[in-house]
Symmetry: D2
Subunit: 343 residues, 4 copies
């Protein structure tokens, strides 16, 4: 078999580069603090196994904390300067500390670095969502008690079927939210496994102490098989989004019911004007745009789940760049779900 | 607003009927035993709250057990005779016991009857899957220990990257299966809630004892809000299938890797001829059709998840016939996943 | 790299076999007539290029027509006897004609045989759908003219917005159906390409006359590249189903609007009782189950499109068994869409 | 039924507002030039039916062209100042021309304004894609002729099956691209219908001349039923994206094949280094990240199709804000597909 060779100029190379990294920096900016936290744990572990001495460690951790603070104040922008959050951190360390800065890369790869940052981010966001869901459930509980005996028809087949109450209608969403919380906990527990130390998917020749970073980063367990660490990328994200989609389905049902109940024909509820938007040619109308957008966002979350699963489908074992898209899908899903629940 | 009236003849009515019940009977045949088990619990509860006396109960339960046995021997076919498994049971009881047979319908509706049958079926099938997954994990463990030190390249980007071993490759699927088992347990726990007694979604005027059937049917808890019982249809099924899809994604990855590893170019493994099929024009070829079908079935399961979620989307609270499709989707998903794991 | 060997018994082999061919026979029974039509054209072409003489041709075509008639009368059942429709035809020919029967396999493979049968089936079904869509559009036109001036509110954001009429509401679906017809014609034109002669994807050493079968089978053109014939499997089916889904989206919108318009709150229309079904605990209720099932079937069709596209994703060029699932997806999609439009 | 009232403060109102318009401005910036082109046609039509006099028209068109130019130079930023591109245009006109500027809103609504802008954008982008696809097809043709007789195995079931050539392999993608072009033309033709004049979905009381804007904007026909104009939102976008997904499936197959063919095991091709990226711990490796990202983008496009279809599902006839999400989905789909084909 003759080998074929294709030549390309620098111009093409630029397009290539842009195609690969496009839009990634926004997500990397969000992951940066988690990358730093994991890096600190990694450095401490390297100290424990005597690869870094105490002084090196204190220098590196000092610089990492500096990035963390700069970033909090909005003064550590990746855009235009760095390829991803990992190289940004490394470059900063090298600039500050010279050769010592380079040592942080010992025994890890960008592949496990991104994995661990995403896990920490996911755990954090699930906690945030749990709080918001519980608070919503409590508000609905109050509402549902207040209107416990306000009569409202019960529907089957979109037809009035049985007498019911506003309280019963609202109450059903409390129980749904409590179930959704349990599913979020499943997703949390799936993500509560430390991939750090799996390197590019086949471990490292250095005798690192993976249990140490598990302990330092507060993971429930270490993900043992390093190839599985890579293969679980996309898998964990899609299960997480699938759990988010259950929560979104609950919010979507609330939104959809309210849209019908506030229509002229049903006229069960009225919504405060501050929540509605007007119409350019019918100024007297009060539209519940926000609930329609929420309803549509249920489809958006579902599609992110589908997107990752399809990208994962028929992929060869080991790291593949394909699942890079899961970063955007996951972060967008959390953003939308958190915004939706706050709304 | 004038009312419009559309006339239709009996011929149309038949088409309508056929359109609605098409293909449902196969699924109802599968759900029949679970419907009987739930019916027995319901009858016992009616006895406890003094709606049925001891003699009625023993008659009804006797007849229900008769259907159960007839069905086990393949002698209780729904096809052509009944609309669904619920009416089949009721008709049989009425034929056998006359008016006593009718009493089983007290305090329940076909809507909660189907819900509880599906839950019992789901719990049963998840247990079956758990057993099969564990057994597969054990086989892979044996294989992976046997070939622990047989060298094999580790891949990133479909390119040889690092030295690895057959054992490491195989081992990654054990850890994946154990994670999948945990997700199945989440699905089990979600389904472990008793909807019986919610009737058509707004409870019943009779003072039934829902905790009693929960206890008799071995559910972990009672699903309190009766409207939520209806609204959870589709929701629980889609989460269950979503968990199955995680397991299928693991099986699909095994299949896909093996397809490549047994190609002439990789040539890592050879597969026993009994597992392969020939070609009509190239008889010497050994094709791994079965793994390709398995790989495709991953998409089938994913699509069932998507199907239910889309059907659920923008549905008004309360029972809607739309989610009837979830019966087929769920049962097919279990069939395919169980067959796939056995293969 | 040492070769690993896995032994399996005959029992496993049976499971394998069942897993691969499960449910395929129903679809093959439907494709059988199209396979015969294509086989007749193939035989005539073999005659033209002097591979079969006139007598052989008349014998083979006679037997093929016999199968066609047997099948029309329901007397040519594949189930239990044959693996697929292709081997059924060949076995029948060999039994009838001995070695002459075998000659039909010259210059073709099961791979292009199934492709051509599916294309002929698809073209046929699209024609059927076009007729049904046009007839529905005409009925709506009549309805829309009759109620042209019956006032009805026009809605934006599910809120009454502007005065409108029943005629305008109904009329919007006519224009939608006409657009859907155009999309069906795109799908028809995509399928109107002859794959016969591409064999297993790399042509055949025999100098067959592909233009001849294109002419005989009334295809608009020959699909030139034989590898593309294989790679277009799944591609053509998914585009076809995607076009069907547009038609289903129109039918689903009609169904959904009517469900709301016949609710007590809107009360614009009443539907003849023959189209509705009763409730087991509320006998006075009239439920539009049929429209709910139709609405759910929109999701089913969408999911078949998604199923094929996901199965197609990341597949290596050339024939792969994965796309076998597209047979079921396509045929079910046509069945459901045809039934839906007739309803 | 008592009316329930929920009070909300201004803070909530801000969250609501942000939730609705988030991320829309990027898309509106892209649609702005098309909105201006449609506005010019609308103004000319208003002149023809004597609602605007010649002087008013020349003033308004002058200002519209000014925005167009400012925007071309990047000096007309929506972000932070406007809610959408429509209000930006109107505000600019009012500031410049006072009451005359307001007149542009006569006989149209934001609802048909966005529809027409999206149609013009879509037509433009399809033309661009057609050019790029044709150019790619030509490059592949050159490549395929050059290597017409370079032998390469033909594969079935991922196994070497028949002798083939590099030319045949490459040639199959030319035919696929030509089919994709036809599907793009279907999408073009579907979008080639003028919705302007349908206002919010129920026409306008002013006797506007819809054929005039159809002619001026170079549409093939006028979309007659004004309710259908609204109901076709989401429908047209999903069909368009579905056609894009077919093109992406072709590009994805090219990418996937090349990834395998350039692996060490196949080693058919080598790719110029400028197209590859290195690895942080294995600097000698050449990774085809770009093709992996492309492969993943196939899933992204598919998911946008699914997203819109799900959002469309079970929506009540008439304008609903839900389909706002189709703007982002469509524009992202075009961006990704165009970037992918250029890559």
């Amino acid at each position: 078999m003759k080998k074929l060779w294709q030549k390309t100029g620098t111009k093409t190379a630029k397009i290539v580069h842009k195609y690969i990294i496009s839009e990634n920096l926004t997500e990397d900016q969000i992951l940066l603090p988690y990358d730093i936290i994991a890096s600190i744990a990694h450095v401490k572990m390297l100290n424990k196994i005597k690869i870094l001495n105490d002084k090196e460690v204190s220098n590196i951790i000092g610089s990492l904390k500096e990035i963390y603070k700069l970033n909090e104040m909005g003064n550590f922008q990746l855009a235009g300067k760095y390829e991803d959050c990992h190289s940004a951190i490394e470059n900063f360390l090298i600039e500050k500390l010279g050769d010592i800065g380079k040592k942080i890369h010992t025994g890890r790869s960008r592949n496990d670095q991104i994995l661990v940052a995403i896990r920490l981010y996911t755990k954090d966001k699930i906690k945030e969502l749990e709080k918001a869901s519980l608070s919503l459930a409590k508000q609905i509980l109050k509402f549902s008690k207040k209107y416990e005996f306000v009569a409202m028809p019960g529907y089957t087949h979109t037809q009035q079927a049985m007498p019911s109450s506003v309280g019963q209608w609202a109450g059903n969403f409390i129980e749904a939210l409590l179930d959704d919380l349990k599913l979020l906990q499943c997703a949390f527990s799936l993500n509560d496994q430390n991939p750090l130390g799996s390197a590019s998917g086949f471990g490292t020749s250095i005798n690192i102490d993976r249990e140490e970073t598990t302990k330092l980063l507060n993971f429930a367990k270490t993900q043992v098989n390093s190839l599985y660490c890579q293969n679980s990328r996309g898998k964990f994200e899609s299960f997480t989004i699938s759990s988010l989609s259950q929560l979104m389905m609950t919010l979507g049902k609330i939104a959809n019911d309210i849209i019908w109940f506030t229509s002229y024909e049903f006229n069960f509820f009225q919504i405060d004007k501050s929540l509605t938007t007007g119409s350019s040619i019918m100024p007297q109308k009060q539209n519940l745009d926000i609930l329609e957008v929420l309803r549509a966002n249920v489809s958006v979350i579902m599609s992110y789940d589908f997107q990752i699963k399809t990208a994962y489908h028929n992929l060869f074992s080991g790291y593949n760049k394909d699942l890079k898209i899961s970063k955007h899908a996951l972060i967008e899903s959390f953003n939308i779900t958190l915004n939706s629940i706050n709304v």
